[in-house]
């Protein structure tokens, strides 16, 4: 299924503000219920575990490789705990609507800017050029 190109998720620090303000991050989900609709007395039941086997897209394998090359096992621009913290700082909307590797690549982007490895201007400039094809 072709994914519609989504509106660019803006880089804001709202998520991190939430993290620092003491609200639990969206990731802390052991025992939480995810309801389908709001009908009938609010009985939320999370659905069955989705079982489709995911064939890794090439970009996802590359995202994984990039993380290994520049993270804790490689150049150590950041370590795993910082990566987790960054993913946890995503808004609940982003956390649950992005796929696993979409969250990772967003977090990679945020960390690279945070650590001063790349600038927003550089990233946005390259994205603009790539979009033009």
């Amino acid at each position: 299924m072709v994914k519609r190109v989504p509106r660019r998720v803006p880089l804001t620090f709202t998520g991190r503000t939430l993290v620092m303000a003491g609200m639990p991050g969206p990731h802390d989900i052991g025992g939480k219920k995810f309801g389908g609709g709001g009908q009938g007395g609010g009985g939320k039941t999370t659905g069955a575990v989705p079982r489709g086997e995911h064939v890794f897209a090439a970009w996802e394998k590359r995202a994984d490789a990039i993380n290994r090359l520049i993270g804790g096992g490689g150049k150590q621009f950041y370590i795993l705990d910082e990566m987790r913290r960054t993913i946890e700082s995503l808004s609940p909307k982003d956390y649950f609507s992005l796929s696993y590797y979409e969250r990772w690549i967003r977090a990679l982007e945020m960390l690279l800017v945070e650590k001063g490895v790349l600038t927003r201007a550089e990233i946005d400039g390259r994205l603009a050029a790539l979009r033009q094809g």
């Binding site: 072709v2 994914k3 190109v5 989504p6 660019r8 998720v9 990731h27 802390d28 989900i29 052991g30 025992g31 939480k32 219920k33 995810f34 999370t46 659905g47 069955a48 575990v49 989705p50 079982r51 489709g52 086997e53 995911h54 890794f56 897209a57 090439a58 970009w59 394998k61 590359r62 995202a63 994984d64 490789a65 990039i66 290994r68 090359l69 520049i70 096992g73 490689g74 150049k75 987790r84 993913i87 649950f96 992005l98 696993y100 590797y101 979409e102 690549i105 967003r106 990679l108 982007e109 690279l112 490895v117 790349l118 550089e122 990233i123 390259r126 994205l127 050029a129 790539l130 979009r131």
Partner: protein, 206 residues
């Protein structure tokens, strides 16, 4: 315009790239241009990680089933015993093996993210990372296991292990009945990824 930094044999298909695929490419190109790594580094890393599969875990399990002294070493210092078989699982995170018995059945989860013994088994399946699995297996493990076709009798303890820190857990499933004559390779073939997470048992022979 820009020369092709990357030509992998597995390109992403015929759809227009999503914003996230473009982002991966933008970051990769910029990091290569800055000399942080090369395209060859990326390919080499992917190739290395392609060698890490559940089959590795299957060999460890099969050896433990056939060699009681190995099994004892595996349970007391899992990392060292795994490395005995030639697997490089790195200094961290630690891998710890949990033994299923007729009295106790383990199932592993990472409710907070997706911790998984990747250095041995490779990348985890989508279902392991899903909000459904992460949220439900801690509170209703028997119902979740039933979805995987696994019924655990009430007199067998189900022990859920939530990997919340730097240890990664690998389940050593029970050896199936009727496998007495099988070779180690034949036994390893009965071991699936799912039984090393604990949502299933190992496959029966034949």
């Amino acid at each position: 315009m820009a020369h092709d930094h990357e030509h992998t044999p597995t390109e992403d298909g015929d759809h227009p790239p999503t914003e996230y695929e473009l982002l991966e490419r933008a970051l990769r190109e910029l990091l290569i241009e800055k000399g942080v790594f090369t395209a060859e580094d990326v390919r080499r890393t992917i190739d290395d990680w392609d060698t890490r599969t559940p089959a590795n875990g299957g060999k460890v399990v099969a050896r433990a089933w056939t060699d009681p002294e190995y099994k004892a070493r595996l349970l007391s210092d899992s990392k060292a015993a795994i490395e005995e078989l030639g697997f490089d699982v790195g200094p961290a995170p630690q891998i710890v093996v949990l033994e299923n018995t007729p009295r106790r059945h383990h199932v592993v989860v990472c409710t907070l993210c997706s911790c998984y013994p990747r250095t041995l088994l490779g990348l985890p399946p989508d279902w392991y990372k899903s909000k459904e699995y992460r949220s439900r297996v801690v509170v209703e493990p028997r119902a979740v296991l039933k979805e995987f076709g696994t019924e655990v009798p009430d007199d067998v303890e189900i022990k859920v292990v939530d990997s919340t820190a730097d240890l990664r857990y690998l389940v050593l499933p029970e050896r199936p009945a009727g496998t007495e004559g099988l070779s180690e390779d034949e036994l390893a073939a009965l071991v699936t990824r799912d039984c090393m997470v604990g949502v299933t048992n190992a496959n029966p022979p034949g």
